[in-house]
């Protein structure tokens, strides 16, 4: 997979197929991006599991925290990692010990570890880096258009008004896919410099 620019079909297929998502680094603080994403994805009917050893015994929006991926009692379709790039590899290594393996490993905005990605992809796991599933879900459904964001999708179909707890259709026509050409170039330059 070219991790500098993901086709919309790749992201769409992931978000349409996964049901359970373990969020590593989920924060109970309601101004942290992980809290935003956790809450949004839960409202869009994903089975969310917060993973954070610092908060075991507490709940995040009614879901009990677990200390690590291996403490989860059911198969996980996707692992969403809210950690800096330098902390990705141990999480991926732990994920690779799970049975069954997760189908997707997703690294949040700003996080990228190409070696960890290669390792996961070598056993058939799909990898997304430096993206946010909340933003991508909002983009492909065009719900994010409320914020003036370029969803880079078009549709001449009438969609139902989005309400809480509802899954939205992500099957709109793509405009080029990936991110915008200019922002993709900027991200690539940045990752090459670091």
């Amino acid at each position: 997979m070219n991790h500098d620019a993901y086709p919309d079909d790749y992201i769409r297929a992931i978000l349409n197929s996964v049901k359970s998502i373990a969020m590593v680094g989920a924060s109970p603080l309601n101004v942290r991006p992980s809290y935003f994403a956790f809450k949004y994805l839960a409202q869009r009917s994903y089975d969310m599991i917060p993973v954070n050893p610092g908060h075991v015994g507490k709940e995040l929006l009614g879901k009990p925290f677990v200390a690590s991926l291996s403490d989860i009692d059911r198969p996980i379709d996707m692992i969403d990692i809210f950690r800096n790039s330098s902390h990705i590899m141990p999480v991926v290594e732990e994920a690779l010990t799970l049975d069954p393996l997760p189908k997707v490993i997703w690294m949040q905005l700003g996080a990228r570890d190409d070696a960890a990605a290669l390792k996961a992809e070598s056993v058939g796991i799909k990898v997304v880096m430096n993206r946010c599933p909340k933003i991508e879900y909002g983009r492909l459904s065009s719900e994010i258009s409320w914020m003036g964001v370029n969803s880079r999708t078009l549709s001449s179909k009438r969609a139902p008004a989005p309400t809480q707890g509802m899954r939205l259709s992500l099957n709109r026509m793509s405009v080029g896919g990936g991110d915008t050409a200019a922002s993709d170039r900027a991200a690539k330059n940045k990752s090459e410099q670091s």
């Binding site: 700003g110 914020m147 003036g148 179909k157 008004a161 991110d179 915008t180």
Partner: protein, 426 residues
């Protein structure tokens, strides 16, 4: 579903708009309402805390305006946009995110006269210090960079003389200085020039001009290219630092490559207040649907009129980058191959008096202070749009006393030429 890129005209009609979820209305409805109900207390809290996508209050966002925002973002190749009440409001909101009191920004000397005034006087009272540079001398931008420089501001096609700015060269200076390049793309519109493709980090427009295109609605817009990294060095605290306005959210960390547009909305528009009326957004959206058709006609007419004037014995000089003899023609061929815009100046051998006489005799051209209308417009910048400048600054900005500015409309070019001919000849 393959990821293919629709053309510009398709985006001009479709981007951002889809049938209304409630009624099925195909044209974008005018959501003429101040406020939007919340589903429950948690939904309200999520919206106020920026955790959910949705509408609160039209000063912060409105569904009609959102269609306009996404459409212009798509046409410019940006990640997001924010519509505001005017082009001037766009400039205030952009710089509020970038400058603290005592900071500087570098601006091209050739700008719309209203922008020169805003930068020189209004912004000075905020402690934002403009440093002027010459867009024809790229090194003058490099020399102007100091540790307090926070942005560079240029026009793609510069008012009033329609000169073309070397966006790529200046973007190189901005990148070296570690500051964003802001490009006012009003006179080109994204149909002629897409500054983000040439290194712009932020694009602003007066929507009042070619994008709206019909001279009926004031509006402005800010487009985020998603290209600038705001996180380095604490230089842009509105984006990189925890914001007390939102209980400690860091906008870049949360919103990634559209964080600047969000900052403009939630820190700029929310707190400064220059919201665009949804009715104006609707009028401008309707205009944008025909932008590619109009803009080509504007340019084709402008070239014909400029050629006519260049051959007229009463005319001393024509400044139109679309003419092969013009000093900006090479840059026009590079940046605006479809046409060099429709706003340009010329000077008359008879000087100031001849200019006044010409304006009074024209029958089709309207004498007024706007550009980018379907109608052809004429003005004498030295006594109007650029009148607050001193004589030396007028000449430097291309608005000397003998200069007349035209904005060529989409009428039949033969009629425009005939009108100029009678006004010049009699």
């Amino acid at each position: 579903m393959s990821d293919r890129l629709p053309g510009f005209s398709t985006l001009a009609v479709h981007a951002g708009a889809q049938p209304d979820p409630t009624t099925g209305a195909r044209a974008t409805p005018i959501y003429q309402t101040t406020s939007f109900v919340f589903n429950d207390a948690d939904h309200a809290a999520s919206l106020f805390g920026l955790q959910a996508f949705g509408n609160i209050y039209t000063r912060i966002g409105n569904p009609t305006n959102a269609v306009l925002e996404e459409r212009v973002a798509a046409l410019e190749g940006g990640t997001a946009a924010l519509a505001v009440a005017s082009g001037h409001a766009a400039q205030v909101v952009v710089l509020q995110q970038l400058l603290q009191p005592g900071d500087e920004f570098i601006a091209a000397r050739k700008l719309y006269g209203g922008s020169i005034n805003q930068f020189t006087h209004a912004f000075k009272s905020f402690g934002w210090n403009v440093v002027w540079a010459d867009p024809d001398d790229i090194a003058s931008f490099e020399r102007a960079v100091t540790p307090r420089t926070k942005a560079i501001f240029i026009e793609s096609i510069a008012n009033p003389a329609g000169s073309i700015t070397d966006i790529e060269a200046i973007s190189t200076v901005a990148r070296k200085a570690g500051v964003p390049l802001i490009v006012d793309n009003t006179l080109a519109s994204p149909y002629l020039i897409r500054p983000i493709d040439h290194g712009a980090d932020i694009v602003v427009h007066s929507l009042t001009k070619f994008l709206g295109g019909h001279g009926n609605s004031i509006g402005g817009i800010i487009v985020d290219a998603g290209t600038f990294d705001w996180s380095t060095g604490g230089k842009y605290p509105m984006l990189s630092e925890p914001r007390p306005e939102y209980h400690g959210i860091r906008l870049q960390e949360t919103f990634g490559n559209f964080a600047f547009a969000i900052a403009c909305r939630v820190l700029g528009l929310r707190d400064l207040g220059p919201a665009l009326s949804p009715f104006n957004a609707f009028m401008i959206l309707t205009g944008i649907e025909t932008l590619p058709l109009r803009m080509q006609k504007h340019c084709d007419n402008a070239k014909a009129v400029a050629e006519f004037l260049a051959g007229h014995p009463a005319v001393a000089a024509v400044n139109y980058a679309g003419l092969a003899s013009d000093k900006y023609n090479q840059l026009a061929r590079k940046y605006a191959p479809k046409g060099a815009g429709a706003v340009f100046t010329f000077s008359l051998k008879g000087g100031y008096d001849a200019g006044v006489s010409l304006v009074s005799k024209l029958q089709l051209f309207s004498h007024l202070a706007n550009v980018g209308d379907t109608r052809s417009l004429v003005i004498h910048p030295a006594s109007t749009t650029h009148s607050q400048l001193d004589d030396a600054a007028k000449v430097k900005s291309g608005a000397g006393p003998d200069v007349v500015r035209l904005s060529i409309g989409i009428e039949d070019k033969e009629d425009l030429i005939a009108d100029l001919e009678q006004a010049l000849g009699a």
